[in-house]
Each structure stands twice: as C-alpha cells, then as structure tokens.
C-alpha cells in the first residue's frame, strides 16, 4: 500500500470533514505540521476542534486557521502567544478547554493505546478537577482524565521511509508521537523521505503502523524566541 502522497492537499483529500477533531503535534512553533495546516486553511474546512498544546502565533501554525475562523474549539495547555486567539476567545467566538500539558500528552497517548481513561494527581484541588471523578489510591487522591481519539492526526517529523517509520529531530519530537498515536488517520509531513532500511530499525522513534499518509516538503521552521549568548 502506497503511503507517500504528492502534496499536503492530496494527502488530506477525502479526509477532512467540518466539525472534526484534529490532534496536532508541535510545541510552540517547534515541530508543527506547517504544510498540513496551510492545506487545511486552503481546503476551508470549518468548525474544527484542535487538540494541540499551543495555538501558534497570529500568522503561523494554528493561528492561520484562527484568522479564517475555521476553529471552533481548542484543547491546549498554553495559548499566550496569540492575540487573535485572545480576541476570539474573549468575544465568545472560540471555545477553550485548558488541559495541563502532561495530562494532554497522556490523553493522546492513552487514546492511541486503547485506554479510555486514567487517574492522575495533576490538577487535584484546582479548577481542572471540577466535575471530574475523584478516587483515592494508597492514601492519595487522583482525578479521572479521558483518553483522546482524534478523527485525524497531523504531525511533523524529520525523516520517514516509505512505510511511515518516523524519526524526529531534537525537541521537535514533543507532542508529535502521542498526537500521531491517537489519530484514526495520521498524516505525517517530513523534511526527507529516505530509502527503506536506511533509518535502522533500532533508531525508529515512531513505527509506521501509526502513520497512514506521508508528504515531503520545504519547511519554514520559524523560531519563536531567538535567544543567544555573547560568545
């Protein structure tokens, strides 16, 4: 079965539906599926819910889908870098569900691993715990969090082979593996597609079983906070 597609638009063809839940990889602007996000904007799909740690900035990342009002709801841990997000949220045009960062990652991992819910100490005694089942284990209180199964996962990797085995680079790995795992369909965009066998089976970060479609393309890879020291 052929997994490699010619473009982001081709890979998304027949997959996008209004109102769907999309899990997206990336942390800040690092390791985000920028080509697929642009193609979703061009496709005009509406009422989307995104499970994504952040919401990009005004003109990059998920921010470009906020500009076109294609996003109905965000499930995120931190959205502080996006003015358009705040404008829509305060104006009641956008729903927001805050998840602690580790809870969001584990919800994706669990959803992909067939685990519908898990108990965690994170958020006990805070607004995050309100309305959630509490349970004591060994004298400590935990809350129930649900696994996420997304209609579509979009992720960014460094290299892929044609079977969908993925290798990420440095901290651009972040949410990409758990996001990929929780998608009913996962599309990966990569910088390079390499010959089968050249990645080395021991060095694969995410096995191709989780990846259904692959595209290769040029990435801008924008830096959010350029910080340097004087030599």
């Amino acid at each position: 079965m052929k997994k490699i597609y010619g473009s982001a638009a081709e890979a998304l063809d027949g997959v996008l539906k209004d109102g769907m839940l999309i899990a997206a990889g990336g942390f800040g602007l690092c390791g985000i599926p920028e080509l697929l996000l642009s193609a979703i904007r061009d496709a005009g799909t509406k009422d989307l819910t995104f499970a994504s740690n952040n919401a990009g900035v005004d003109d990059f990342g998920i921010g470009i889908l906020l500009q076109t009002k294609q996003v109905k709801k965000m499930i995120s841990s931190y959205v502080g870098e996006n003015k358009e997000f705040m404008r829509q949220y305060l104006g009641g045009e956008l729903e927001l569900e805050f998840n602690p960062q580790g809870t969001l990652a584990e919800r994706m991992r669990a959803g992909g691993a067939g685990i519908p819910g898990f108990y965690t100490k994170t958020g006990v005694g805070t607004v995050i715990a309100e309305g959630k089942e509490h349970k004591d284990f060994d004298g400590e209180t935990y809350i129930l969090e649900r696994g996420i199964v997304a209609d579509l996962a979009i992720v960014k990797a460094w290299k892929a082979d044609d079977t969908g085995n993925l290798v990420f680079r440095k901290t651009a790995r972040n949410f990409n593996p758990p996001a990929a795992m929780c998608g009913k369909i996962c599309i990966a965009e990569v910088e390079e597609i390499v010959p089968r066998g050249s990645l080395g089976g021991d060095a694969i970060h995410l096995p191709g079983i989780y990846v259904h479609r692959i595209i290769q393309g040029e990435h801008e890879k924008r830096i959010e906070q350029r910080t340097v020291r004087t030599a």
Partner: protein, 208 residues
C-alpha cells in the same frame, strides 16, 4: 537590603544535590543554572522533551528544532537525550525529577501554590506547571516576597486559582527562606541585611 534576582537564584542553587535531575521554571528559576556549583552533577530537564539542557547558542548557531519550555533557542550537551511529551511528563508525574524550582504569584502557609492565572486578566494557560507541582519530588518556589504595591505574596490562603494544593516544600524570596511545616511556615534564614522582624512584618502567613 534584600537579595536581588541573581542572589535569589544563587541561594536557590544551594538546594541542588549531586546527581539530581531538576526542572527550572521561567524567570528567576532559569537563572539558577548560572550558579550550579562546580563539580556538581545536575541534569536539567526541559519538559518539552529534553534532559541535559545546555546554554543559549552563540549568535548564528540557533536551531529551530532545539528550544526550551519557554520556547527559547538553547543548545545540547554530551549527555543530552530527547523524548516525546508523554514520556517527558511520565518522568515528571512518576517522581523521577528530584526537584522543580518555580516562580509564583502567591504561596500559602499550607503549601498551596498559585502561579497560572489572574481572574479578569488574559488567561494564557498552565502549561506544565500543574503536572510539575503534582509530580516532582520537591517543589521550591522563588519569588519576590511582596507585590509591587507592598502586599505580602506569602499568605494564609491563596486568593488566586491554584496550580496545586499543598505542593510547596520551600519558599525563597528576596527577604529570606521559609519551609512549609505543620502549622505554618518555619523561617530557615533571613536574606543578608534583613532582620527577622522585617521578614515577619512583610509576611501574612503564620510564621512559627
């Protein structure tokens, strides 16, 4: 006289122990990395998926794929390892990180911590703070003792929405060091040039 930001960071660095894996928050806690004692083996975690965080890069060597949890460009070390967010928070939640040094807006005498939201102001999100305070072995807070208006930030009860309940072990402020113990806060030491009377006068929490 009281400690400045760098002196607070230097004092917080005395909390480190050889062999520890540690997470440093944004702001003054980040400065702690400048004061790790020579010869002490401390590995810094960045919760976006890295152990063994290095310094900021020199100009021209920034890498878009290599950032810290504050989204700043950083560098790697020989010991560095990378992993995904689920594993990163697995090691946080699983108690593998010995200590987190974090900033705060308010701390209460029972160890309650508020550092993620001010109602009525723009809400940015908790990021990984709730996971860190719930999971790591020891939570040390570094912050100014009072607000710009002179109000104590070391309180009987937090007024802001909590990041975690009864999670703080030690508080380091510009005025001194306090431990959260049964019945209130115990003064560990006063900052250089600060008297115990001055520390008490600036503190709303019960000091025992």
């Amino acid at each position: 006289m009281a400690w400045d930001r760098n002196q607070m960071a230097a004092r917080a660095a005395q909390e480190l122990q050889d062999g520890w894996y540690v997470n440093l928050g944004i702001g003054i806690p980040t400065l702690v990395s400048n004061y790790i004692p020579d010869g002490m083996d401390v590995t810094l975690q960045s919760e976006n998926g890295m152990l063994g965080m290095g310094a900021f890069p020199i100009d021209g060597e920034e890498d878009a794929d290599l950032i810290n949890a504050g989204k700043q460009t950083i560098t790697e070390l020989e010991r560095t390892s990378y992993f995904d967010s689920a594993m990163s928070f697995g090691m946080i939640r699983g108690g593998k990180i010995a200590m987190a040094i974090l900033g705060a807006m308010e701390v209460a005498e029972n160890g309650d911590l508020a550092n993620w939201m001010i109602p009525g102001k723009l809400v940015k999100g908790m990021g990984g703070a709730m996971d860190l305070v719930a999971g790591v072995g020891r939570v040390v807070v570094v912050m100014d003792h009072t607000s710009k208006h002179g109000d104590s930030k070391v309180l009987k009860e937090c007024t802001l929405p909590l990041t975690g309940k009864a999670v703080v072990d030690r508080i380091i402020t510009n005025l001194g060091v306090m431990d959260v113990v049964e019945g209130g806060l115990k003064i560990v030491e006063c900052a250089e040039g600060v008297t115990e009377e001055e520390l008490r006068a600036a503190t709303e929490a019960t000091l025992i």
